[in-house]
Amino acid sequence: MEMPIPNPSILNAKARIVERLRAVLPEDAVIDDIAETRAYECDALSAYRCPPLAAVLPRTTAEVSAVLRVCFEEGVPVVPRGSGTSLAGGALPTADCVILGVSRLNEVLETDYANRFIRVQSGRTNLSVTGAVEADGFFYAPDPSSQLACAIAGNIAMNSGGAHCLKYGVTTNNLLGVVMVMMDGTVVEIGGAHLDAGGLDLLGVICGSEGQLGVVTEATLRILRKPEGARPVLMGFDSNVVAGECVSDIIKAGVLPVAIEFMDRPCIRATEDFAHAGYPDCEALLIVEVEGSDAEIDEQLGVILAIARRHNPVELRESKSEEEAKKIWLGRKSAFGAMGQINDYMCLDGTIPVSALPLVLRRIGEMSREFGLDVGNVFHAGDGNMHPLILYNANKPGDLEKCEAFGAEILKLCVEVGGCLTGEHGVGIEKRDLMGVQFSGVDMEAQLWVKDVFDPKWLLNPAKVFPLAVTAGRRVA
């Protein structure tokens, strides 16, 4: 993975830059010792590492502003970091950058049930947002798998999703407002407890901009009342095509499940060996979950099961108790862990039109044989977001490269059938060089204009999202 050559004049000025940062932050908020900066050398895309020039851990919006002002004046690139759980390398440093970690900005600022919002500092973890309101019966809907660790700041940067987006949407649909610090230190407030923008929808473009437009320090998030209950069913089919048709028929029937998860045979076998959830050995498995009161759940599941029966399932399993429900989810929730037991894996994130599922799974199977690498598929079937897990051996020379080449082919296939490179993980460095597959030069240029306006010197997370060749004329770093 190519990264820009560090700017020697910044490296040489490290002492002065660190001194200026120390002047505006408390003693414990600036990290420049080489041993300690290693803690920030990578995120969850751990194949790529580079310690930053320094890391800063501000506690307030004013401190973030002061840091950015210093870096702006010094011309130092800044890489914002939530909890470092990005699978796309969104928080990967360069040697000449300052990592701005928001982990100490973790307070709840306001909880308002009457108006259904919570205002938090952006370093707060996703799950702890729900944690702050769940005793009162509320929750924050977006639920990425990393929700125990990932920060709201990172969720906003990547427009994170989760398993329940079919009903509740992704981060951008649940974000009401932000306080954001621009690269020059200016603090802007966009949106709030009211709905929609009065002028241009800047919030919409900030969400998902991968930390390239500003550093969000506070977020106003919509919270929802928890449903009375939820219950999953499990269905096994002997063909991917039939499972896909079943999903389509469920959706067409007017039921809106909160989640429809799909696993293919390699994934089912791996999780069965690992988690012993008692899944049937079949070609394709669906977990469909609906919400409501007990009677409402029965009514919806009645419709869903009738549809499933028309597709000759090899197994239909309902859950009569909390324990049985947990068992249905057990395999799905341990899928990544199970695959990790077999080997190292790379998790892809392309989205496809649901109708293209059989074709895409068949092509992935063919490519798996061509590349000689195994792959299992976990899939948010309701919204088309695929998660192929390609197994490789990190200790075997050339395997990572082969895996990346295979992954790139899968993502190109996603785009070819009308989908996209990434549904919820973000581009980061991982898919940066594939952007040209999905976007023309003109399409990308229009996106670069947005960054030109928000960060004219191109100092915020500059080497991400777009191919380096495309941004070369704009980046100073």
Binding site: G169, G199, G208, K226, C420, F439, V453
Partner: protein, 376 residues
């Protein structure tokens, strides 16, 4: 191409050509049913020729159409599969005194959303892809036809509600939803304005999936529930218990009556034909009563659980001056051109935010020819 002073390109390529070749300001127009914003003079560029549904997959909940496609055509195609646009865009012709055929592109340009916004999100939340022509005549695409997509910046949201000032939409893609089997309205009679937001908050803050929460002086609080029959009846019962402390409860179950009621809320039918200016004010719901009191309106309708105030006021009233400082934004939706020239139809923004918006317009429309000044 149409008569002088008016262009009606028949394809995206012709649309791009028309923008590229424009010598001066363009008045971008879908169906011309939403005459909102500062008056703009220039050559009219109609998008109604870039029309037609290009893809509709009911099983994938996805619809793609040319921006000039009439709303009526979109709604009919969806209805045939028992599906709909989640955000319930209104028909503003009665309210605004306009005629013509509303287009899907116009709905997007206005980010028009009705009562269901409170549950299913705004137009921008269902919009998953756009193609548009920028001010230099380039065709740009963003997003696509899948509902989960974080590839690159989300210009889709930026285009929604930009009123044609960043680009001329040529194609729009949506996530759509099934039409529930049945619906009902729970009415809480005799609720005063000052209690309305609290009553609606209790309802939308319940687990009973309210898909519309509105208030008017005449009807009191109106709460819509949708779903399978048994579920609707169950939730109506639960809401009845929950809200009886606010007033007398009545449940409206007749499908026609329910649909007519929510169409009237959506289209602000009560203000149609009445003299005066119409404002649309987005606020924190619990602030609504206080803000309405400061407005001194001739008539008012609350939607979005109190988060949206529709206010009818005397012609030429500067409503923002009456309200004073508040959290949210006020848009002048209906007024004579001279009033819209004098009073900013869109909420003035803080300097740093306004600078960002101006910067974006300068990039997307470097010659300043797309509905210039409309949102100023």
């Amino acid at each position: 191409m149409g008569r002088a002073g008016r262009m009606r390109p028949g394809s995206e390529a012709e649309l791009a050509e028309a923008v590229r070749g424009a010598a001066g300001p363009l008045v971008v127009r879908g169906g011309g049913t939403r005459g909102v914003g500062r008056p703009v003079t220039g050559e009219v560029l109609e998008t109604s020729g870039v029309a037609g549904i290009t893809l509709y997959e009911p099983g994938a909940l996805t619809l793609v159409a040319g921006a000039g496609t009439p709303m009526a055509e979109i709604e009919a195609a969806l209805a045939a599969e028992r599906q709909r646009l989640p955000f319930e865009p209104g028909d503003m012709r009665g309210l605004l005194g306009t005629s013509g055929e509303s287009t899907i592109g116009g709905v997007v340009a206005a980010n028009a959303s009705g009562p269901r916004r409170v549950q299913a999100g705004a137009c921008r939340d269902s919009l998953i892809g756009v193609r548009f022509v920028d001010g230099a005549g380039n065709v740009v695409k963003n997003g696509g036809r899948v509902m989960k997509n974080v590839t690159g910046y989300d210009l889709v949201k930026l285009m929604a509600g930009s009123w044609g000032t960043l680009g001329v939409l040529s194609e729009v893609s949506f996530k759509v939803l099934p039409v529930p089997a049945t619906q009902a309205t729970v009415l809480v009679r005799g609720v005063a304005l000052t209690d309305a937001a609290a009553a609606m908050a209790a309802a939308v803050g319940s687990p009973f999936e309210v898909s519309g929460a509105a208030w008017s002086e005449a009807d009191g609080v109106m709460l819509r529930i949708e779903g399978f029959a048994a579920s609707v009846s169950y939730r109506a019962g639960r809401l009845r218990e929950l809200l009886r402390r606010f007033g007398e409860i009545e449940v409206e179950g007749d499908a026609e009556a329910v649909a007519a009621r929510w169409r009237a809320v959506r289209d602000v039918g009560a203000f149609a034909g009445r003299v005066g200016d119409v404002w649309r004010v987005s606020v924190k719901p619990s602030d609504a009563a206080g803000i309405v009191a400061r407005m001194g309106p001739e008539a008012v309708l609350l939607d979005w659980a109190g988060g949206l105030i529709w206010a009818l006021v005397a012609t030429g009233t500067d409503l923002r001056a009456r309200i004073g400082a508040f959290q949210g934004h006020a848009t002048l939706m209906r007024a004579a051109p001279e009033v819209r020239a004098r009073i900013a139809p869109f909420q003035p923004e803080a300097a740093a935010v306004a600078a960002l918006a101006a910067g974006l317009r300068a990039k997307f429309d470097p010659r300043g020819i797309l509905n210039p000044g409309l949102m100023d």
